[in-house]
């Protein structure tokens, strides 16, 4: 385990240094990301300007969810950036190289093309999160901080697990993970609003099958002391990190299953 971690960081450093040579392009990309965040928050503002409240939630509460989503997705994308290349590696047969090396193929492939410029996205997410907490009048004591951090952690884990599942599917489909990414990015779209506002069938998918809604919604209900219209059992609010870890364990199991049944392409 310790050996794996040190190999991971060595590879990470190498890939990052390699990418630093395209600096100016990354600056523009960070600017673009900032615009993207800004227009998204403008969109939320227009909705609240028009409708005042959405399902009993206020503007700053939804901005908090947006910040949460942006940070968690940002970290998950950073960690999983190598997984995007799996379809290409499988198609070209390059993936075989990862299997015959003496380290875990996952550790080897994760840091590939580590996209450092995405850090900009994280910073904007943090700004949105901090401002929303301040404007909502939340004084972050120990309890609040614990909730915020554990929500971020769980959401990040769930997104990462989704990327892993998507990548594993490509062992069989040899196409991009597009079909499964509908759930990953759809989950991101969904968790920008409280899951309670959606129709039951859609809500239940994101609560109990792909637990993006589960891990972002329940802790936020405690944080803002909201009325909980779904009448879910109270212990749901405390087990979110556990749910996230179970989901990750299942994803890892699926990945291992995928590796075992991987058949190289070509004749």
């Amino acid at each position: 385990m310790r050996e794996n971690i040190s190999i991971y960081f060595t590879l990470l450093k190498a890939y990052t240094l390699g990418q630093m040579s395209y600096r100016s392009s990354y600056l523009y990309e960070m600017l673009g990301m900032a615009i993207l965040t800004l227009v998204n928050i403008c969109g939320i503002y227009i909705i609240f300007e028009t409708f005042e409240s959405v399902g009993g939630w206020s503007f700053w509460e939804v901005v908090y969810l947006y910040g949460l989503t942006t940070i968690a997705m940002g970290i998950a994308q950073l960690l999983a950036s190598g997984l995007n290349h799996i379809p290409e590696f499988v198609r070209t047969g390059d993936f075989d190289r990862y299997l015959i090396r003496p380290i875990s193929p996952l550790v080897h492939i994760l840091p590939y093309s580590f996209a450092l410029h995405r850090v900009g996205r994280l910073i904007q997410g943090v700004i949105a999160l901090v401002v929303s907490l301040y404007m909502r009048g939340i004084d972050p004591g120990g309890f609040e901080l614990w909730i915020i951090c554990s929500t971020l952690f769980s959401l990040m884990i769930v997104y990462f697990a989704l990327f892993l599942i998507g990548a594993t599917f490509t062992f069989w489909t040899i196409q991009s993970a597009e079909l499964f990414n509908a759930f990953t990015y759809g989950g991101m779209e969904m968790s920008k609003y409280p899951v309670s506002i959606y129709q039951p069938w859609l809500r239940n998918i994101f609560l109990f099958i792909i637990p993006v809604g589960f891990v972002s919604y329940y802790p936020t209900v405690i944080l803002f002391n909201k009325h909980e219209p779904l009448n879910s059992p109270e212990f749901f609010q405390y087990i979110t990190p556990l749910v996230a870890l179970c989901f990750l364990a299942a994803a890892l199991k699926f990945w291992k299953f995928g590796i075992k049944h991987y058949q190289s392409t070509g004749s």
Partner: protein, 269 residues
């Protein structure tokens, strides 16, 4: 600049790119699926917003859902993200061959896009409208007489979107990469075109900015024609705006291509 308008050749380019697209059937299915996941989530937000409300900003809930379904159905017709190959051509040097063809490169490029447009028109646009109406997310147009205008408006929106992307990608003549600019443009595009939130909800001061930008003439203009809520005068303004932007952007693309043509320096030995 346009001394050689060889229509049969351009038609051949369009047909080939249409056929090429036919090969990616699974990709189209998964794209269709993604469209619907997003449509349901977006629709969910507005359904929650409309709780206990009938008409907001001139739109009833079914009008808003129709707008969302229409913009999803235009999603692939009017390209606004990703790459369409021009910047790669410039960076790889392939552009030298493209520029030496006896036809103007912009026209070839457009012809290829038209082929892709018709592919998506058949296999993405119509399926989304049909499935959308089965789920109760789309109402019928106010007037069927406006349908020819609606289709023309979609085509103009496509032309404007492709020309904007062409301009962005052509900056690769001067810079190493256009990725950053593309992300910026994507942000503006989703917001000002009505893809993120229907423009009907925009406060007056943001609408003022929206009206001087080309983006609203892609997704929003045809959607308004379909909905038929705007006055005839507003619809006419939208339509004239589309034609003007299509002309201006086409001229800019041709101009920038002729400047880039002189500027192009090929990498490699």
């Amino acid at each position: 600049m346009l001394n050689n308008l060889n229509f049969p050749a351009l038609l051949a380019f369009a047909k080939t790119s249409y056929k090429k697209q036919l090969a990616y059937r699974i990709a189209n299915w998964s794209g269709l699926f993604t469209n619907f996941v997003f449509l349901f989530i977006r629709a969910g937000v507005f359904i929650a917003c409309y709780e206990n409300r009938d008409v907001v900003a001139g739109l009833a809930i079914i009008d808003t859902l129709t707008y969302l379904t229409l913009t999803q159905s235009f999603f692939t017709l009017m390209p606004h993200l990703g790459s369409m190959g021009l910047s790669e051509h410039i960076i790889s040097g392939q552009i030298a061959i493209e520029l030496n063809r006896p036809l103007n490169f912009y026209l070839i490029y457009m012809a290829k896009r038209v082929g892709i447009f018709f592919y998506y028109f058949m296999f993405r646009f119509f399926p989304i409208l049909i499935i959308g109406s089965l789920f109760g997310l789309l109402r019928l147009p106010t007037s069927f007489l406006s349908m020819p205008l609606f289709f023309l408006s979609i085509f103009l929106g496509f032309w404007i979107a492709v020309s904007i992307m062409f301009l962005i990608e052509s900056t690769a003549f001067w810079f190493d990469s256009d990725r950053g600019l593309k992300v910026c443009m994507y942000g503006f595009f989703t917001f000002f075109s009505g893809l993120l939130i229907p423009l009907n909800y925009f406060p007056a001061w943001i609408l003022k900015i929206t009206k001087i930008l080309p983006f609203a003439y892609t997704f929003n203009a045809p959607s308004q024609i379909y909905l038929g809520i705007q006055t005839n005068q507003e619809l006419l303004h939208n339509f004239i705006g589309q034609i003007l932007w299509a002309v201006v952007l086409t001229a800019s693309c041709l101009k920038i291509l002729s400047i880039g043509d002189k500027k192009v320096v090929l990498h490699g030995g």
